[in-house]
């Protein structure tokens, strides 16, 4: 198993790619804690998926923008497990809106959830990782933050920011045995891609060498690998999972 005996925290783990990440990490041996902001039913479904994968986990209803709540969550996990080995900054959402119609609140919500949320969750978890001199931080980026493609500007901006966040943080805390990487999926069959206009998907498929969208599990597998000791020398990297666009 890739991450046997590890303790992971996945942000935004109740649905879509987050649930797939939780399930995959659990299948690969980790105890998986995840947070969510809205639906208890979705969280229960993720817990069930973790159990089905033969793993153990816990669900925590706290927003990634709630600094105190995240601090308490980390403290509680640390108290029980004595460590947090893996953090996956996955929390986010998609929104299709042109700049011309974008409200200031749209911009703020997008940047806050993706970027500030990653900052707050990482800062909270790093205390434990620095103490333990071990950690794997994986930020979930997007092809939209890397390549020129038609994507909502605030979404592309937020995902591009996570790439910078990854590279700078990797440099800053590598000395403590903590790696920081970014996994940037292309369009996947579920999750934030659900609401994409058909024309965008068609354009994507025209340029994708594999001529299909990805599966959630394919991105989650890469994340589990990057979070494992098998990827111990991979640091500050952004790994694209897009079937070659």
């Amino acid at each position: 198993m890739l991450v046997g005996g590890r303790v992971a925290l996945v942000t935004g783990g109740s649905r879509g790619l987050g649930r797939a990440i939780c399930t995959t990490l659990a299948r690969e041996g980790a105890f998986v804690a995840f947070n969510y902001a809205r639906s208890d039913a979705d969280a229960d479904a993720t817990l069930a998926a973790i159990a089905d994968a033969g793993g153990r986990g816990s669900a925590h209803k706290v927003s990634v923008l709630d600094k105190a709540g995240l601090g308490a969550l980390v403290k509680a996990l640390d108290a029980v497990h004595g460590k947090i080995d893996i953090l996956v900054n996955n929390a986010g959402f998609g929104q299709v809106v042109p700049l011309a119609l974008m409200e200031e609140s749209d911009w703020d919500d997008m940047l806050d959830t993706h970027v500030k949320g990653a900052f707050l969750a990482t800062q909270a978890v790093l205390r434990v990782m620095v103490r333990e001199r071990y950690g794997r931080v994986v930020n979930v980026g997007s092809l939209a933050g890397i390549k020129m493609m038609q994507a909502p500007v605030h979404y592309a901006t937020a995902k591009a920011a996570l790439k910078g966040f990854t590279e700078a943080l990797a440099k800053e805390i590598g000395r403590y045995g903590i790696t920081v990487n970014c996994v940037a999926p292309g369009i996947l069959d579920e999750g934030v891609s659900d609401h994409l206009p058909p024309a965008r998907k068609e354009e994507y498929l025209r340029h994708c060498a594999l001529r299909r969208v990805g599966k959630l599990e394919e991105a989650a597998d890469m994340i589990a690998f990057i979070a494992s000791d098998r990827a111990s020398y991979t640091n500050g990297a952004t790994l694209v999972v897009d079937g070659a666009v």
């Binding site: 790093l126 205390r127 434990v128 620095v130 103490r131 805390i173 000395r175 403590y176």
Partner: protein, 566 residues
């Protein structure tokens, strides 16, 4: 960014070894007994010997320096049930009667450390050198390589201490040059460690040559202190200070009794305008203490000086000479004063050295005196643990037995917390390595990064952890503001982030230790160009090691006695 028209200031090189101690040995060639310099070099332990007949020699003692150091420290463990003295090591000291260099046994007796000496002429003597044997022994583990000046004034001919100036066997550069610019004074202190002749005011041109010589030898100086006598007695003191204020000198310090500072506001303002720091002698708070130590009641004069310092916000170091039974009950009070004002940057305790015109005859018991651990213990007791015994560490810049210190971080509410509460100095020895203040070197930056992350990770366990993190954040904001600061402003801003308490035990005829002199970094530059380690100068050159008219060593040269450097 480097200046395009100036060469970058070169960095002084490290010594090729870590000087550790002195030990008894014999010349490998002729067998004569010689005291060896024990150094750690490339993982080995080597005795460096200088035989007058055979020249320089060396002998490897161990190929495993770490193991050897551990065994050395183990020698300081007194066997259970031992009655009597436990021999720890040997060194060279002085006979308190005739000042001849004599071998001293360094022994541990009831948790204290003594020198046992036996002079062929004067007979046996004993001297207390540390009130805490554990501190004394452990201090050796802080030994670090010194750096060397670009220029040694003297070559080695007969060995330490006769070739001083410094010679190229000296193990540390000049961290703190102290220029005695006058031998006039407006006090006659019963504890005075110099020997004022009231006959010399240093000429500005001579002083300028001394500063030139320092810059030539050192490249840059973090500090330059002007002392005396009482330097404010010098009729051209402001001109001397102006000469000292040059780019190669980080901080110019005027060491003063404060009398002129308190009553001459124009002078105090001039000090401020020049950006000069004050080193204020403040050994107590009551008339009886002043009378015993400084010869007269100075309560009003000290209060006036402190008022001027506060009003003009003069950056100040407080200097407290601590004497057992005289002012050691006021140690806590000076710490409280020091902690109360942002203008006080450092506090320097000097356990009294019984040398000099006054100090040489000041009443004392060499076997029951204040040493560094005794002062630290009183700081702890008299501040109610605000600053604790365990907050202090030996400073490896000089010999680790010479100076102990603690840094205190200024928190947001104006109080301070000792760095030792959140920094593991045994792990981050770099932060203590080379200087009394923290230089902006990559090694220091690296260590500070670790410290920040350590506090970040353990903030719930560390006393006042979140406040410490907030203070560290404030320090970053103030030291690296959005609008760049001029270099001198940066210096001042960085100084405001923390305070330091030092204890520096100058030596006298009782506790003189040649091993300590070997790595001395507090130096008196002389008018003839020599740069003299302070305690060696006081012991052998000043002519007052036992009070007025003490005969000088045959190699002794009095201050102001040789031609001015060309």
């Amino acid at each position: 960014m480097d200046c395009t028209s100036c060469d970058a200031t070169p960095t002084r090189p490290d010594r090729p070894h870590t000087f550790f101690a002195h030990a008894q040995d014999t010349c490998p060639a002729c067998g004569v007994a010689i005291e060896a310099r024990v150094v750690l070099r490339d993982g080995a332990v080597v005795h460096l010997l200088r035989c007058l007949a055979c020249g320089p020699q060396e002998r490897t003692i161990s190929d495993d320096a770490d193991a050897w150091v551990r065994s050395f420290l183990d020698r300081g463990v007194v066997p259970d049930g031992l009655v009597g003295d436990h021999l720890f090591k040997h060194t060279t000291s002085t006979c308190p009667g005739c000042l001849a260099l004599v071998t001293a046994q360094v022994v541990i007796r009831k948790d204290r450390v003594f020198f046992l000496k036996d002079c062929a002429r004067c007979g046996p003597s004993e001297a207390l050198v540390s009130e805490d044997a554990s501190y004394y022994v452990k201090a050796y583990s802080f030994a670090r390589a010194g750096t060397q000046p670009f220029l040694f004034r003297n070559g080695v001919e007969h060995g330490c201490p006769t070739d001083c100036g410094t010679c190229d066997d000296h193990e540390q550069h000049t961290c703190l040059p102290i220029v005695e610019v006058t031998d006039h004074c407006n006090l006659e202190c019963p504890i005075c460690i110099v020997d004022n002749q009231y006959s010399n005011h240093m000429e500005p041109a001579t002083f300028a040559k001394i500063v030139d010589g320092l810059v030539e030898a050192e490249g840059t100086c973090e500090s330059l202190a002007l002392s005396g006598g009482e330097p404010t007695s010098h009729p051209q003191i402001l001109e001397l200070l102006r000469i000292a204020c040059r780019p190669e000198i980080g901080r110019v310090v005027l060491i003063t009794n404060g009398i002129r500072l308190g009553k001459d506001r124009a002078f105090a303002q001039a000090i401020r305008d020049l950006g000069v720091y004050v080193g204020l002698q403040l050994d107590g708070f009551t008339a009886d203490v002043h009378e015993k130590i400084r010869g007269k009641d100075l309560v009003k004069e000290k209060a006036a000086a402190l008022a001027a310092i506060a009003e003009l916000d003069l950056p100040t170091q407080l200097i407290f000479v601590a004497t057992r039974g005289v002012n050691d009950h006021q140690i806590g009070q000076v710490v409280e004063l020091f902690l109360s004002g942002p203008q006080f940057l450092s506090l320097n305790f000097q356990p009294a050295a019984y040398t000099g015109h006054g100090g040489g005859t000041f009443g004392h018991d060499p076997a029951d005196r204040l040493t560094i651990p005794g002062v630290i213990k009183r700081i702890d007791e008299q501040t109610g643990g605000k600053v604790k015994y365990t907050d202090f560490f030996p400073l490896p810049c000089s010999h680790p037995q010479c100076v102990s210190l603690t840094y205190l971080l200024r928190l947001g509410d104006g109080t301070s917390v000792p760095f030792a509460r959140f920094v593991d100095f045994e792990k981050h020895a770099t932060l203590l390595r080379s200087s009394a203040t923290l230089p902006a070197t990559p090694e220091v930056e690296d260590a500070l990064t670790d410290v920040i992350h350590d506090v970040f990770a353990r903030q719930d366990e560390i006393e006042r952890g979140p406040e410490i993190l907030a203070a560290l954040r404030r320090s970053l904001d103030e030291m690296f503001p959005r609008k760049p600061l001029a270099p001198r402003e940066t210096f001042r801003v960085s100084e405001r982030q923390s305070k330091s308490i030092f204890l520096h035990h100058y030596m006298d005829r009782h506790d003189f230790d040649l091993e300590r002199l070997r790595k001395c970094c507090h130096h008196y530059p002389q008018i003839d160009g020599r740069i003299m380690p302070a305690c060696g100068f006081n012991m052998f050159h000043r002519g007052a090691a036992k009070g007025p008219n003490t005969p000088r060593a045959r190699f002794g040269r009095a201050p102001f006695s040789l031609p001015v450097i060309g």
